[in-house]
């Protein structure tokens, strides 16, 4: 199987300080990957590089064997969607209007009017992310869990092949986390590759078969999540020891419960 996205020896620096160096990995169309690492390890930066929003200082990113930088911004937006951590909506957009923006890279007319297929894609996306009933609510009045799903709905409306999410479950209670993970699982089953930056290691173990761990100064670890999260790697990455077994981190009963919901 050919990789969807290949990251080759990528480094990125803010000023003189390198966030990470020489990162390489391949993403396949069926992947569901948890991207883990301490605060400031460069998870957001790496996601932005994968989405073509930042250009790496060294190395290159290939999308379907062609450099990402050789695509037009609109072409990338039709294939790769990034769900950012925070969004500030200036005016009173409804959820419907918010999700409609996901069609922007597909619109062909000069006036930017939505066609029938755009409307279909929007209602499919809202259904999939379970936000149809919120359509006429004001985005700024939604709860955290609702906002997260609305942002995901916008990304689905882009009809991407790769969905990148920056901490999609941050600030959410376990019930709302489970809803977000359920949406991600449905997307992955429908053939969209998913990469999510995740802080909660238990969620990563429970919901993501593959994991990647960024540790400053060390090579990127990737593989089955349980193996990536071995005690020594966790200690190096986060600077704390976690109760663990030789096979990896303990999955607490809570983690199992979330998985089963």
């Amino acid at each position: 199987m050919k990789p969807l996205l290949s990251v080759r020896n990528v480094s990125y620096a803010y000023g003189p300080r390198f966030v990470f160096q020489d990162v390489s990995f391949d993403l396949f169309p069926t992947d569901t990957i948890a991207l883990m690492g301490a605060n400031g390890a460069g998870k957001t930066t790496l996601l932005k590089i994968c989405a073509g929003l930042l250009a790496p200082h060294n190395g290159e990113v290939l999308y379907l064997d062609k450099p990402l930088s050789s695509y037009k911004r609109r072409e990338i937006a039709r294939s790769i969607a990034l769900v950012p951590q925070e969004v500030q909506v200036t005016f009173d957009f409804t959820v419907q209007q918010f999700v409609e923006q996901g069609r922007t890279p597909h619109l062909s007319s000069l006036f930017g009017t939505l066609q029938d297929n755009d409307r279909r894609a929007i209602s499919r996306a809202m259904e999939c992310a379970d936000v149809t009933h919120l359509a006429y609510r004001n985005f700024n009045e939604l709860s955290g869990g609702e906002r997260q799903r609305v942002k995901i709905a916008l990304a689905i409306a882009q009809e991407p092949r790769l969905l990148l999410l920056d901490e999609p479950t941050q600030h959410l209670d376990i019930g709302r986390q489970a809803e977000v993970f359920a949406v991600l699982r449905r997307l992955n089953e429908s053939g969209i590759a998913v990469v999510a930056a995740v802080h909660d290691l238990q969620s990563a173990l429970a919901h993501f078969p593959t994991g990647m761990l960024i540790t400053p100064g060390l090579p990127l670890l990737s593989g089955p999540t349980a193996e990536v999260l071995n005690p020594s790697a966790v200690r190096q990455a986060f600077g704390v020891a976690l109760p663990g077994t030789a096979a990896g981190l303990d999955v607490s009963p809570l983690g199992v419960a979330v998985n089963g919901s």
Binding site: V87, T90, D92, E127, P160
Partner: protein, 365 residues
Amino acid sequence: MASQVKPVPEAALSAESRSIAVARPRRVTTWIGLPVALILLFGSVMIGTMVGAVPISARTVFAILTGRHLASLQSEELILLQVRLPRVLTAGVIGAALSIAGVLFQGLFRNPMADPYVLGTSGGAALGAAMGIFLFPHSSILGFSAAASLAFVGSLVTITCVYALARVGGKTPTVPLLLAGLAISVVLSEASSALLYLRDEVSWSARSLALWLSGSIAAVSWTQLLLAGGMLLLGGVLSIPLRSVLNALVLGEEYAQQLGFSIEFARVAIIVVASLLTSSAVLLGGVIGFVGLLVPHVVRLIVGPEHGRLLLFSALCGASYLIIADSFARTVIAPSELPVGILTAFLGGPLLLYLLRRTKREYAL
């Protein structure tokens, strides 16, 4: 493309997501709003042409405009076609141009406080006008006074300088852009005030500059009106394709980029179009405050924040608003005139406050 997503299984729906669905908000739809806005505009044109030193009845206005030349109406015909109609249309052009520019700048800066003069246009225009009044008080270009022409040039030069100053390493972040606009505008405004003290015959010049800075629509010829109307038309047409990037910008610059826009290009395009519109308004009527700030606000409260509708309705309502304000400015203290800028503030402030109070919930920008 992976678009065949599965429907949601019932069990996956949580208590939260079962919360009551909210009905479509009661916002004015385009099919009702457009005729209303057009009738409003037509009504304002009628009022504007009827009132004045010599009142003209609606029937007479119709008779003259439909081309019936009656000997008994010769003086009215002259007043209507040579004085009043050009003046009313000028007010309309200025109102529409400032309102569109207001929508563009508020959308670009994601800030409802932005107005058409946000990038220093008013300061540049003031200095240009002052130079015109003091240095070439009796010359004119294409029928425009030296003050108006130099104000036009001044506003364009200022925006170019502000943009160049805020540009760092191929990027033009919005906060430095706003700060540079503010700084330059203040400096230039004070410079034009300083010019006042350099002249002996202060009274006349100061008065005409003050009048100019509060915005006053002078009598214009059809040629001048055609020129400015052309600039409005160009700016209006160019702003239509900006609609989708303005909508994406509601979610933030990074989101807009993620959705496939080049932010630098969009920024330049928006600034160029908005500046063209603002400068055309400056050329015709000086610095008229509050229109470009107020009209997009009020229209947004009525038709919602989607930028296609917002641009269309702001243009129509802005034109009506300034025509009405100018009709008042001409008549309240007749035979002399108030600067129209005073009227736009007096009429607009209370209207905006009323609408803000009436929208029940917290005004989320």
